[in-house]
Amino acid sequence: MKLRVNGLEYEVHPPPERLLVDLLREDLHLTGTKRGCEDGSCGACTVLVDREPRHACLTLAHMVEGRDVTTIEGASSSFGLSSLQRALIENGGLQCGFCAPGMVLAVEACLLRGKPTREEIREAIAGNYCRCTGYAKIVDAAEKVVRERWGP
């Protein structure tokens, strides 16, 4: 089967039961996508499939055939880290960083839908577990990006 990951086309032959998270981590060596559980409860494996957030631990690899997948490795560009990534760094929006890949993509997906309120940002990350930060600095960082992009 073929799929696009971070803009590049891949041809892969996963066994039918292979999960997207394992396809990415083990077969494509894209280890930025993390695994914190195996039941959709932590969001560490969040990737975008056609710009929509998905749990790669609950998605079978063959379900993304022909689709466009964005992982954390695709969140930054040749211009460097995205404004959200920079805001997270500067605001202390990550500590151990294990949630960061999923968090970045969950918030990016939210920003793709238009200007969010603080509440909507919190909702967007409600499925992304973080044990370190207490979430406030993550939401602050996202809000900073919202202000930069849409004004106060």
């Binding site: 559980c37 151990c96 960083g97 294990f98 044990r131 207490g134 979430y135």
Partner: protein, 773 residues
Amino acid sequence: MTKVGNRIPLVDAPLKVAGTATYAGDIARSGMLAGKIVRSPEAHARILSIDVWEAASEPGVAAILTGDRYPVPFGVLPITHDETMLAVRKVRYRGEGVVAIAATSIEAAERAARKVRVEYERLPEYDDPEVSAGPVTEKIHERAVGNTNLQKEVQQSFGPVDEAFRDAAHIVTVRGRFAGVTHAALEPHAVVADFASDGRLTVWSSTQVPHYLHLALSEVLGIPEHRVRVVKPTVGGGFGGKGDPFPHELVAAALSIEAQRPVRIVLGREEVFYLNHGRHPTRNTVRIAADAEGQLRGLDVDALIDGGAASSFGTVTTYYNGVLSVGPYHIPAFRYRGRRAYTNKPPSGAMRAHGSVNTRYSIEVGMDMLAEELHVDPTELRLRNFLPPDTTTLNGFRITSNSVARCLGAARARSEWTSKFRALPLGEGIGVACGFFISGSNSPIHFTPKFPQSTVHLKIDVDGGVTVHSGAADIGQGSDTVLAQIVADVLGVGIDRVRVAAVDTDTAPVDLGSYSSRVTFMMGNAARRAAEAMLAQLRNAAAQITGQPAEKFVAAEDRLSLPDHPEVAVAYLDAVHAAMEHTGALQSSGSYESPRIGGDFKGARAGTSPSYSFAAYVAQVKVDTDLGRIRVKNVWAAFDCGRPINPLLVEGQIEGSIHMGLGQLLGEEMHYRGTRLMNPSLLEYRTISPEDMPEVECLLVGDADPEGPFGAKEAGEGPLPPVLPAVANAVYDAIGIRFLDLPLTPDKVWRAIEARRKEGGLVKPPRPEDHDR
């Protein structure tokens, strides 16, 4: 230009946020096998037979291991080695490893695992520490006390305790019950082990204690220490949960030896819950005696803690449940009885604010009750009783810097306490609590051979980059950043010149690891000394170049110059090159040893620390009296960590601690039915969601500590304990009900509210000044 004291982002954040930081589970080695552990479905049973014949013939299986191969017991404390890498002859908790398999893929290992046959003979199961404390028919471990299943018993008494309680004008008694909670770091434990053809073993592991793991690998596997190498990659959170050497780490190494191939083991989330080593389920009784003026006269603490099936840090936990109650108040008489019982549950161990959370809860709720009996404001009662700075507690803790009174003042002012206490409408309330915590344990766990608690090495070569070798484990809290800040600050160079090498026991000097909030204080002091020794070499070079006295040079902004004659200056890189002309790369070393503190009695060292953090929190809540839901709206967290090296990171520690503390208070629970863990998943283990987090205002109040690096003290654990009782006291202010049985789930709160309504009504408690009317 100084880096210390500024809000410097984590030096490794750009990698983490881009998904390129390497965690243990991301490591792949050529020829690597996948390891899988077959775990016991029984809580307490003799192993009659293990049949791996069918499993071994599965395609792809390279090695199978059972407990009798490496039966050497280990444990983080040298005095209580009672864990083995796989069960030997009997299993002691559900989830204990029995057989380990290495195969060419994880699927193959799992297929083989399903074919392992183990025959068990059930033994009596112990789920209640009260029962374990009495005579038992089956000892869980031979080393348990007498004919009981007690692991440890501590009795201490200081000062005239009986007189204090006999003569007291007021005595309050609090009986607290606390469910066990667990660290639930997002990264599941992962390890890669490679026993290579040169006879050297390398282990990459998500660990907080590379040095202890190093020792355990050598002891259990019988490989000399110098042929064992432990590397700590980026770690996805620890909180104490990666603070022991663990069975799976030893198993991966043993499988690699058997298979002569690298082996990776990544635990599933359920396995992480069974590994546990989290906060002990606890029952405590705290009695506080006070005179008519509200001066504390005595404190009597009794704690029975459920250790699960292994010792882990438990001996320390048993002490900490008592000794960490001698502050932040002046206690003239103190008695403690602590007992830790083995049960057939996953082991308990050290978790953030180790051993101090549950006793602190009962004390701070007790202080609230005492204030009410005395008809005084609870902040006022606390102010009357605080320890001063520069004092010694009755059990020999040396208190140096202490700004707890200023913390309380700040939290009170920012929260507008006086206008809110007992004055908010029914269902809304405000509460206060205080606390203190050690900045590292004064006595290291391992004392032979003798070595400093922390050592830091620096190296500068022609490129001018400063390489820092340290064994201190950054587990997300930011210790690498603190290291880089300190070194850059002393050398007067930009922080990007400093590169902190990953912890590698081959190259890093021994450091005891990340626990007991020791790192900033101890590693920080070592780093400062190492950097000063390096600076001396650069100053000498500057002196040689300019002919000016070396000690006059100050380092800042990539140069060394004379403050009075800024035109006399040597660029940093020129000084480096001059200094290394005849020696090659520059090196320096710095270390930290804590002063000797504490009395001569048994257990005197427990809780002694070169310095203590202090805290005073105010919390405001709203209780939904129809649904029993407690909504924490605000926390004003005033914290004395001395002079913060990095306020951004300190705030992160406070906010994360509040998340974890509120979780324990409001919903987190290792929920057992008998010995059976009912909720081993993140879906069912209820942490606080982003929507339920309160607004947190961090107030960093504190004077520079005389011995801390640049005046800093710990900030990783002390921020946790006060939030639980502050909220509980706020709930009392809101609805007049005391909750002493954690967690305060909505059903429990709702039942208490209903009962109170039937008894005659839900009302706010009276104000102190209304009592006399």
